[in-house]
Amino acid sequence: MSFIFNFPDVGEGIHEGRVVEWLVSEGATVAEDEALVKVETDKAVVELPSPRAGVVLKLHVAADTAIEVGDPLVTIGAAGEAVPETAVPAPKVEEDRVAVPVEGLAPTPAQGTRRPLATPRTRVLARKLGVDLQDVRGSGSGGRITDEDVERAASGETSQAPQHSPPAASPAAPPTGRGEVTADGEVERVPLSHLRKVIASAMHTSKQTAAHVTHVDEADVTDLVAHYRKAKPAIEDQAGVKFSLLPFFIKAVVAALQRHPQFNASVDEHAQEMVLKKYYNIGIAVDTSEGLIVPVIKNADRKDMVTLASEVADVASRARSRELRLDELKGGTCTVTNIGPLGGVFATPIINVPELAIVGLHKIMDRPAVVDGDIVPRKQMYLSVSFDHRYVDGADGARFMTDLVGLVSNPGLLMARL
């Protein structure tokens, strides 16, 4: 008895994805829970495990095609079941229209065979761009192939062809646009990536729903930096990765959140209740070549600095290679965005809904400061917290920030609150 494994609903409202790479081939024997395929969803590349043991009889979709929840991915037969020669009976070719053996030319397709769903206009476009519609997954109603799908397929091919990069797990090449000359001048049109569309939608939702307000304060992190420099060699030795200041800030943010629970919360709009989270899952905004990705460090309050350092390095690197698992992107309670290294005085980030707050870490600079009546150079930075003013008051924002500034300005206090 063969079984068709459909693209499952992996949660978080994800309805579509893209097959990145098949990890099994037709005829292969798979164990239950063995990874079958890598599928790119909204923000992660997910490996889907086989729901049962058996033999892979048929892969229903090719790599690099879009899929929707419920689409058949693979047919798995019982162990020992023979792989059918062909799944679809060969189309009957009318005697009168047998293909001509003209070199380099496609034979006449038999009338009425299962053909891709595309309008005549789209079919012309496909021929113009040299795209075989059999290889294109339609994004339109009922799987119709749209002009855009064809254009995407055409540009995908041209950007991949010269690169010889392995298709899986490597950062995709920047999308190649097509040139166009408008009345105002030359432009390049680059199709939006799936990730970009997801980011756009999330940002828009956040800005439309949350009442954003940003509170900024300045912190003197001279002592923290000195402390960090002292600890760095030892921690790097233990963690085996480059140790940045970020774990200190994560710890400081967690400590502040523990005192100000409304910043580690979301709102159940339906029940009209504030949901205060008793766990501290800190989202870390990672800048990748394809766009913003926010992996989540789970239970950051319960992890030591060494663990945090290696986890941050790990998720950041896997975010860039799109190898994160979906569950590593879920369940954040508050997000930290470290814009400082990229420059700027301060910024006003957008809240990662349904969270209520996002903390911005800005550039650490040597600045003149007055200490005990003397002007001395100090390492100073701006810290921001952007929060949803519908549920969190400005005074709370000020209190949260004062606490956070105190923690990062005084490593002794931070140690005491860990």
């Binding site: 679809v88 009976p89 189309p91 009957k92 009318e94 005697e95 009168d96 229209r97 047998v98 293909a99 001509v100 053996p101 003209v102 030319l105 496609a106 034979p107 006449t108 397709p109 009338q111 009425g112 065979t113 299962r114 053909r115 769903l117 595309a118 309008t119 005549p120 079919r123 012309v124 021929r127 113009k128 109603s141 009922g142 799987g143 119709r144």
Partner: protein, 471 residues
Amino acid sequence: MVVGSVSRGCQVVVIGAGPGGYVAAIRAAQLGKDVIVVEKTPRLGGVCLNVGCIPSKAMIHVADLADEVQNGQKMGLTTEGVQVDLPKTVKWKDGIVRRLTGGVKFLCEKNGVEIVHGEAAFVSDRSLTVATEEGPLEIQFEQAIIATGSRPMGLSGFEHDGHTVIGSTEALSLQAVPQRMVVIGAGYIGLELGSVYAKLGSKVSVVEFLPELVPSLDREVAKALEKRLKQLDIDLYLNHRAERFEGGEPGDVVAQGPDGEIRLPADVVLMSVGRVPNSENLGLDTIGVATDAKGFITVNDRMQTSVAGIYAVGDVVGGALLAHKAYQEAKVAADVIAGEPAAFDSMGIPAVIYTDPEVAWVGLSESEAREQGFDVVTGTFPFSASGRAMSLGATDGFVKAVGDAETKRLLGVVAVGRGVSEFIGEATLGLEMGAFLEDVALTIHPHPTMSEALQEAAEAALGQAVHMLNT
């Protein structure tokens, strides 16, 4: 170079000025090519305009009109003795043909297509000669499009004489309604013309070698058609092999059936046993253009033959021998020559039989869909439930929509009934646009029309028909 001949050059030469040829010529000219079209007969338009589609429809209309008027008593219409003046009918029909063929000539000329009359034969893959009235003309070309069409097939034992044993051409120009007509072959031509003469008063018999009408037709459709043919008092001899015609006053058609030999007296024998391609005498062998066992030229989806630069379109390449298929192929060939990325990739070629009732279909039939492995769902709406059909006194027939049960994608439509030819184009558009049954069901159709039945059939396939009970 033929000694003493005149030589001409052009970019594209088109052989044959039927629906394939004149469309290819006009399209190629529109795309900036210097085009010559060579036509063997004095008139443009080919079989379709001269002795096929158009004149037969004119005759069918007259026969339908006569039949309807005579059978209008139920509707309160009383007439006394409808007279059919066949010579006048034929003259009227000839006028239509003249107007249309003249129109084709006008379009060719206005598009800058040069017309040469005479028989063409290839000399090389870049030149051909035309035997014109003024003598041989040699034409050098860059590309050639062969659109020489097809002609009725003969049958041994039935010698075509043009007045007793006739083909479809003569059947469109008879000067008197024969008392007894025997039609050999129950294909669409035989049934259309047989119905015409039955309505005009002939006693018509149809002899068919195969066990069914129009092989490959949906069986339910064939049944509906058969019922009406019987009402017209047409005798059907299926499973009968026509052996010979024995002359006399009248002569007899002798046929062999399952119960032995039968003899059918006939004043006129109409031969309609199939068509063969006009691919001989073109010098195809000289230049190496490949043909299949039946003589049809083999082409790919870009209408290219086995010889570079030589294209072929229409009946001569086989498949459905239909003018609209030729039109499409002609445009593909001209576009390919002009460097466009064209290909013949239609989702379906609609077909119509102008019998009474009309039969029209496109896409996959129910059985074809099953053969291709689809889980098939169908919806049928009978015209007996259609207000429009009742008001026309034409409640015979139905529309059947064929869909994929899994995805609900529309796979095909078959219709039998009055005027169904007029809306099979809608079903074809649906197939080309990748319509789902819901798309058709959710499209408002004008009421009251015969076309509403298509919407109802799609609804029925979804179990949502309103104007009949869903099964």
